[in-house]
Amino acid sequence: MSPEPEDEVIICRCEEVSRKEILEAIAEGARTVNEVKMRTRAGMGLCQGKTCRRLVSRILAEQTGQPMGEIAPATFRPPVRPVPIGVLASKDDEGQSDAS
């Protein structure tokens, strides 16, 4: 089997975002994990970036020269775990719903 070219390598497996797409986002001016995420959807899938967030940070560091420590992770918002939306939308024991 012929080798997969380096830039075709998938970085975000959940959303199937390749290294090439992330490089393009950076070329268009993305400088943070959030900006890469908003342009490409990397980190927006089922695992919410648990596998790819560090890979994206590393590519950002290597392309922009920023040290890894200065590349903050993307913003975390609830829900931080994949949860059934029906359960979130249902009323809790006090009749409140988090989806409202």
Binding site: P3, L55, R77, P78, P79, L88
Partner: protein
């Protein structure tokens, strides 16, 4: 809304130890875990622990897990399993999905003991079936007694890579080589020697370049690295393998701490961005504590001690222990932590932890 005095997220070694310590002092504790069994990674640890007797040296991780579970049950901790914490909100309130119901739990104090996730490496072919993390292999081999494959290439020579390689040998697989990108072996000499005695080569300054195969891993290509981590063309080697195991370190699972507004510091020796905390394990957000891998990647033995510290500190803050009682208990734990953080490996972590504590105290 339900209420509790002390909510602990994560029932691994840190969470369990904190629960026991606080409950013994009289604190009402709710211990929450998303799995159907508490214990975290302890039940994958079939090897014997190091350290002194107080650190469970010579005891296997699984046996420590059983012991901690027994203690948790006998000291009146409420354990919520299959419970996913999906958010943390103002006033120390957790959003939890439990038994297909969404509930809110308000706590006076919260300990985040959420552990860590495995680091990945993206190389051509890394999404082929057969490329997997060391944690998955430990689950397969040590818990379910299923071999992931017959011939394994291990990427990473830290303790996890070395121990999992040895466990694969014990389970009947062949480990063709252990790769290490650094010029020297990452983990303890004692683990590396065990592998070498079995004839497993540990190749330093070498990394994985590519996984090849039709629908699954059939071949791994490795490549040598120079002192600047650049690949050296012409040093590629091919190995016929069906498994490529990635043991490349861990990153703290700190989403809830970010969401709670904790201040972070970047400390590569501890795994990246770490919530700043003091010697009581309290973060920069009042009443929110961290312990175990989320507060800096270390080991199960240090996680248990950090959990105890948090448990004691919470019991003190809630008035169940006097300042003198708490100080006395903390001193014992801190001394054991000091012992665990000695030597060339532990010393680096000790320094890094002190750096975090100073930041917290200077605020």
């Amino acid at each position: 809304m339900r209420e509790t005095e002390f909510a602990i997220v994560g029932a691994g070694p840190a969470g369990l130890s904190a629960a026991i310590e606080a409950a013994r002092a009289g604190v009402q504790v709710t211990l929450i875990d998303e799995n159907d069994k508490p214990g975290g990674q302890l039940f994958k640890q079939i090897h014997k622990f190091f350290g002194s007797k107080e650190h469970y040296a010579g005891v296997r991780g699984i046996d420590i897990g059983v012991q901690l579970l027994h203690e948790v049950e006998t000291c009146g901790v409420e354990v919520m399993l299959n419970a996913v914490v999906w958010g943390i909100f103002a006033d120390h309130t957790l959003g939890i999905i439990h038994d297909h119901k969404n509930l809110h739990l308000k706590a006076k104090k919260i300990l985040l003991a959420t552990g860590a996730s495995e680091n990945a490496l993206a190389f051509p072919g890394w999404t082929l079936p057969g490329v997997m993390g060391a944690g998955a292999i430990q689950t397969l081999v040590n818990i379910h007694r299923v071999l992931p494959g017959r011939r394994v290439l291990m990427v990473g020579s830290g303790n996890v890579g070395l121990i999992v390689s040895y466990q694969l040998l014990q389970a009947g697989a062949e480990v063709v080589a252990v790769l290490e990108a650094m010029p020297k072996i990452g983990g303890y000499g004692v683990h590396a020697s065990k592998l070498r005695r079995h004839g497993v080569p540990i190749l330093t300054s070498t990394t994985i370049k590519e996984a090849r195969g039709k629908g699954k891993v059939e071949e791994a290509i490795t490549i040598g690295l120079d002192e600047h981590w650049r690949e050296i063309p012409g040093t590629e080697k091919a190995y016929q393998v069906d498994v490529i195991c990635l043991a490349l370190g861990l990153t703290p699972l700190s989403e809830l701490a970010w969401m709670a507004g904790c201040q972070f510091d970047y400390i590569p020796q501890l795994g990246g961005h770490i919530p700043v905390h003091d010697a009581n394990m309290e973060t920069t957000v009042n009443g929110i504590y961290v312990a175990g891998d989320v507060s800096g990647i270390e080991e199960a033995s240090t996680a248990m001690e950090e959990g105890k510290l948090a448990g004691i500190a919470v019991a003190e803050a809630l008035g169940y222990l006097s300042a003198a009682e708490a100080a006395c208990k903390k001193e014992v734990v801190l001394r054991r932590l000091d012992e665990l953080r000695s030597g060339p490996f532990g010393g680096v972590r000790k320094q890094a932890k002190e750096q975090l504590h100073q930041q917290r105290c200077s605020q």
